[in-house]
């Protein structure tokens, strides 16, 4: 079997892309398009919904259906699409600002509904597009263009948030783990119910520059050294866990999704009386 390239979903003449050298969004997009190809997705039955920010530019490169929305609201738009036509593959591309900073409410409710969307979140630890400001996902103490003396706040664990809110599938990978990333995206696309793939991404231009990881390789090393396969991570002591994060498939369950539950309720409403 020849390797999937995903090129059939890529618009002609748009490369090179606009993302900075060293950014992980291109790796994520490549992995997603390969996953589309391996699952034989059609442009007609696929809708990619994007938010605002670096990741929000991804729709410009695609020839699938697409809806480029407002900051933080992509999941809510996608919910309307999927609820009205459950046969569509609806994939939502967001940054960490989109998904859990301005859009956190939609994120937890999409997971709670367990609506059959695949959310792919590029987590680059800051607001890249606007110049590297602090986000709800910037680790405490880290430096950004709006935390010159360090971030006084804590960061969200996006995967943990999705898990407790009710997502059927949760995974985390990094561009350092490119093949695994494609596999996780495939699993997420295939899963009924809400699925999340969080992708830690280098942002050497802003976050790296402000945090002594100006070279892309330094941020990738950070992921490689800190990111442990989830089985190994779970065996660590509480103290050791502080220096690491788990990668791989973190949650995999089969609770009924929103549309399945909705049709159950509809059957009650339309049952003959008596």
């Amino acid at each position: 079997m020849s390797h999937a390239t995903g090129i059939r979903y890529l618009k002609d003449g748009v490369l090179p892309h606009m993302w900075c050298s060293g950014c992980g969004i291109g790796v994520m997009l490549g992995a997603m398009l390969r996953a589309f190809e391996e699952l034989d997705y059609k442009n007609t039955d696929t809708v990619v919904v994007t938010g605002i920010g670096c990741t929000g530019k991804a729709d410009d490169y695609l020839v699938t259906n697409a809806l480029h929305t407002t900051h933080g609201r992509a999941l809510a738009y996608a919910t309307g699409i999927k609820a009205f036509n459950p046969s569509l593959h609806v994939v939502v591309l967001m940054g960490d600002g989109d998904s859990v900073t301005i859009g956190g409410n939609h994120f937890i409710h999409a997971a709670r509904r367990n609506i059959d969307l695949t959310a792919i979140v590029i987590h680059n630890f800051n607001f890249g597009m606007t110049g590297g400001q602090v986000a709800g996902t910037t680790p405490g103490g880290r430096f950004t263009s709006t935390t010159a003396w360090g971030n006084p706040e804590r960061d969200f664990d996006i995967c943990a948030l999705a898990e407790v809110a009710g997502a059927n599938y949760v995974a985390r990978e990094t561009p350092y783990h490119g093949w695994e990333l494609k596999e996780r995206i495939k699993e997420a696309l295939d899963k009924k119910g809400f699925s999340l793939v969080e992708v830690f991404s280098p942002c050497p231009t802003h976050f790296g520059k402000n945090n002594e990881m100006k070279q892309t390789r330094e941020m990738l090393d950070w992921f490689r050294e800190r990111g442990l396969p989830v089985e190994r991570y779970r065996k660590l002591s509480a103290g050791e866990k502080k220096n690491h994060f788990p990668v791989g498939k973190l949650v995999d369950r089969d609770e009924p999704d929103f549309n399945a539950r909705y049709e159950e309720i509809r059957a009650r409403a339309t049952a003959p009386e008596g």
């Binding site: 809510a76 738009y77 919910t79 009205f84 339309t270």
Partner: protein
């Protein structure tokens, strides 16, 4: 056979009007005084094969409505002032992306939480200018339960025909008022569906307007693949930063409404032919205005009422034509600042005599209040 009339609330009639117009998707967040619309839809949508969703907030509600509309649904939401404020950014996407949808804003007394259960007509400028960026919208305003139903159908028809969001803005009085009403038979009121593309799928451009100013709209999941963007975009829907494209785009969004102005601007008149005193009213205030005009005529003053059924675009021509024949113009409205009176002033110029009657305490304007301004 005479049709059975029921005692129906304005909010209920709007929900029934939406279903009659073919609405099959509702997403909303409950808020007084609009919640009866959500309650009705939550029951009916399941039975007619549609979808009702209660979203996490009004931001998500209008977003889901837009998503569903692009997937082929006639879709709508209902709210009141605070929720309408939250919807504005995404409503701008419906303008920019030319997405048909209907938003009902049952107006209540503000600012902020204000008097949550009391009426107002104070969102008139927010209807028109609530979103950032230069744009134009259609806003309609019913005065009776019958109009609640009929104008909801009209709102969907305009939304579908012109690929725009249409706002229906009753006040709390009209939303909660009950009157005898019977649902028209199917076909009794015309129902318009959006224009679908007829070119081959590889030649479809979602923003290439026909001669009528409106581009055909496909649906996600059809044979047509397309992009819709909140960013400035070209005819193909892909983002485009070229200044010439931006100029075409902004002008096109305005032009498609402006070229159909005569069809969109709806008014009703009562006893205006010989009127020396012209009342310009809308929503619940229309009825008080009619009662005041009839009372004035008993006292020998020739008064008439121009009802603004379409609030936006503003009825410049109709106001100018009738005001020319009258000596005095009176504008009763439930706001402090004279939001419609200001528009009437813009149309008639600084020399015209315009008397304002305003209520901004959550109380309706009575015929007596208006009569005082006439005699």
């Amino acid at each position: 056979m005479a049709k059975e009339a029921r005692l129906v609330q304005g909010n209920q009639a709007m929900a029934e009007g939406a279903i009659y117009a073919g609405a099959r998707f509702y997403a909303g967040y409950p808020i007084t005084p609009s919640s009866e619309i959500a309650e009705e839809c939550s029951k009916v949508m399941l039975k007619v094969g549609g979808v009702y969703m209660q979203m996490e907030d009004e931001i998500a509600s209008i977003a889901a409505v837009i998503g569903a509309s692009l997937t082929g649904a006639k879709a709508f939401t209902a709210t009141s002032g605070p929720g309408f404020s939250l919807m504005q950014e995404n409503l701008g996407l419906a303008v920019m992306g030319e997405v048909p949808c209907v938003v009902i804003d049952v107006q209540r007394c503000g600012p902020s939480t204000g008097l949550a259960t009391k009426p107002a007509q104070s969102d008139i400028m927010q209807l028109r200018w609530g979103r950032h960026g230069d744009q134009i919208v259609i806003a309609l305003c019913p005065a009776t339960v019958n109009e609640c139903f009929a104008l909801t159908v009209t709102a969907f028809n305009f939304a579908e025909k012109f690929r725009v969001p249409v706002i229906l803005a009753p006040d709390e009085i009209v939303g909660h008022m009950r009157e005898n009403f019977s649902v028209p038979e199917p076909g009794e009121i015309a129902v318009i569906d959006r224009k679908k593309p007829s070119v081959s799928a590889d030649r479809y451009l979602p923003f290439a307007a026909d001669a009528d100013g409106v581009a055909p709209l496909a649906a996600y999941g059809s044979d047509y693949v397309f992009h819709v963007s909140s960013s400035m975009h070209g005819r193909d829907g892909y983002s485009n930063n070229d200044p010439a494209n931006a100029a075409w785009r902004v002008a096109q969004l305005h032009r498609k409404i402006e070229m159909h102005q005569d069809e969109i601007v709806l008014t009703k008149s009562f006893a205006v032919e010989d009127a020396d005193v012209l009342l310009i009213a809308y929503g619940a205030t229309t009825r008080a205005g009619r009662a005041a005009a009839m009372e004035a005529r008993k006292q020998g003053i020739k008064a008439g009422v121009l009802q603004l059924v379409t609030l936006w675009p503003f009825a410049d021509k109709e106001v100018a034509a009738l005001a020319k024949k009258a000596k005095t113009v009176v504008v009763p409205e439930m706001n402090y600042s004279g939001q419609v009176a200001g528009e009437v002033r813009r149309v008639l110029g600084s020399g015209a005599e315009i008397r304002r009657v305003n209520s901004y305490n959550g109380e309706i304007i009575s015929p007596q209040d208006i009569l005082k301004a006439i005699v």
